[in-house]
């Protein structure tokens, strides 16, 4: 599987080239175009060894996480082929290869597509610590192979060594070698209430972190204030 990302950062498009009979799993609604011999199978996301109920349950969990209930499996049947994917909103895409050395934690709406050998877990326990304020839900990817994620705004990769603070609304993904604590911005009452930053996340350790240069909530508030009043 080869992945190429073009038109960064405003209108990024991921082109996934598959070998014969290779499969790429993608978020529902993400497909832009594909070769005619690529077959599509829609299934509630499920893990190896789960029955129908298990699949439905993990699908429901993904829905709670803000992702679609169903994932699509694209298979290059018989011969090599390619599929292109894009997120719903304007913004950037990054492709990352999981080596098995560590897991990847993703902000739930950042997931775009991945190899079948990558497992996406929507009920990752660490997610709870991200609730509150920003309404963030995190997914945990593990296994080996490529995974592709998207952002609102441009994606900036940061190599964290030591401590680093990120506004919760700007987190895209991070390697799970980093530990994190959610905290209030600044040290006092003034900063947390009036500083306009809400919750921030403090990362510690060594690992890669990806942030997005825009915050969907901030953008929504800025644009909403300009929209005309609804008449109905």
């Amino acid at each position: 599987m080869q992945i190429e990302v073009n038109h960064r950062p405003a209108y990024a498009l991921a082109t996934v080239s598959l070998d014969a009979d290779e499969i790429v799993v993608a978020e529902g609604g993400a497909m832009v175009s594909m070769d005619t011999h690529v077959t599509v199978e829609t299934a509630a996301a499920k893990k190896e060894g789960q029955g129908l109920m298990g699949g439905l349950m993990s699908g429901l969990k993904r829905m709670v996480a803000g992702e679609s209930f169903f994932q699509n499996k694209f298979k290059a049947a018989g011969s090599a082929g390619s599929v292109t994917f894009a997120p719903k909103h304007v913004g950037d895409i990054v492709s990352y290869t999981m080596t098995g050395a560590c897991g990847l934690v993703l902000q739930s709406t950042a997931y775009l597509c991945s190899a079948e050998s990558v497992d996406i877990d929507a009920k990752w326990g660490g997610s709870k610590s991200f609730f509150g304020g920003e309404g963030l839900f995190m997914l945990k990817a593990s296994g080996q192979g490529p995974i592709v994620f998207n952002s609102f705004g441009a994606i900036k990769e940061i190599d964290v060594t030591g401590d680093f603070i990120v506004d919760n609304g700007h987190i895209v993904a991070f390697e799970d070698t980093l530990s994190f604590t959610n905290t209030r911005f600044g040290s006092g009452f003034m900063q947390s209430i009036l500083g306009g930053e809400g919750l921030v996340c403090k990362f510690s350790g060594t690992g890669k972190l990806w942030i997005q240069t825009r915050n969907p909530q901030g953008f929504g508030e800025a644009l909403a204030s300009k929209l005309p009043m609804r008449t109905n």
Binding site: D167, E197, K202, T213, N215
Partner: protein
């Protein structure tokens, strides 16, 4: 202090490296990420430990910024206190560009929503654009930034820098900032007939020698273009 702007022009991100003793004042809510070693203070702009009278003056200016210019009332000051210094990343809420404008004992007038951050030695005050600006559709107040240091301004769309020698006309919705020595005058684009039917509305006519920064898109026009496409 070193300032770099990345991801231009769609999703500009200002990456500011503060050396020991450096400080940067930023619009509340603009912080994307930062080194935890930086100190943060939240308050009204321009309070420099000058006692109660200074505080009251700054508070009134903060209120005026909020209610007259649509800006936030508070600013955050980021300070590097340790020998290592630290980094802070800033972005506006809207999609668009960021420009770094160094001030050398000079003065720049900024459309209120375009202010992102400045050095503590840059004084930022509210100025009244004149009674005619009430009819501009863009707000009647501007921010006057003067002194020595750095200024970061943001836009909707890309920022285009235009050197003026003589006279030049810019649509009010596309003005970001201009050098303080330029004279400006609000006008109709053409006669009353074209003001009503040309779709151009009001313009600012600049006279003199200096720089004008304009934005390649206009939020008001975008909103009126997109609104008919909203369902319901």
């Amino acid at each position: 202090m070193q300032i770099e702007v990345e991801a231009r022009p769609s999703y500009g991100l200002a990456v500011v490296q503060l050396d020991k003793g450096d400080a940067l004042v930023a619009e509340a809510g603009a912080m994307v990420a930062m080194d935890p070693g930086l100190g943060v203070e939240t308050g009204f702009m321009g309070v420099g430990g000058g006692g109660l009278v200074e505080w009251i003056k700054a508070a009134l200016a903060g209120l005026a910024r909020k209610f007259l210019a649509g800006e936030s009332m508070f600013v955050n000051t980021f300070k590097a206190k340790t020998a290592d210094g630290g980094k802070v990343m800033l972005a506006p809420s809207m999609v668009g560009d960021i420009a770094h404008v160094p001030l050398d004992n000079s003065k720049i007038i900024v459309q209120a929503e375009s202010y992102l951050a400045s050095s503590p030695k840059v004084k930022v005050g509210l100025i009244w654009g004149g009674i005619s600006m009430l009819f501009s559709g863009e707000g009647a107040f501007f921010l006057e930034c003067k002194g020595q240091g750095d200024l970061l301004i943001n836009s909707y769309g890309a920022i285009e820098k235009v050197e003026i020698d003589g006279a030049y006309v810019v649509d009010t919705g596309h003005v970001v900032a201009w050098e303080g020595d330029l004279k400006y005058n609000l006008k109709k684009a053409g006669g009353w007939k074209s003001a009503m039917f040309s779709g151009e509305g009001m313009v600012l006519e600049f006279k003199g020698t200096g720089t004008v920064w304009l934005q390649t898109r206009n939020v008001g026009s975008f909103v009126s273009w997109i609104s008919p496409f909203f369902p319901g």
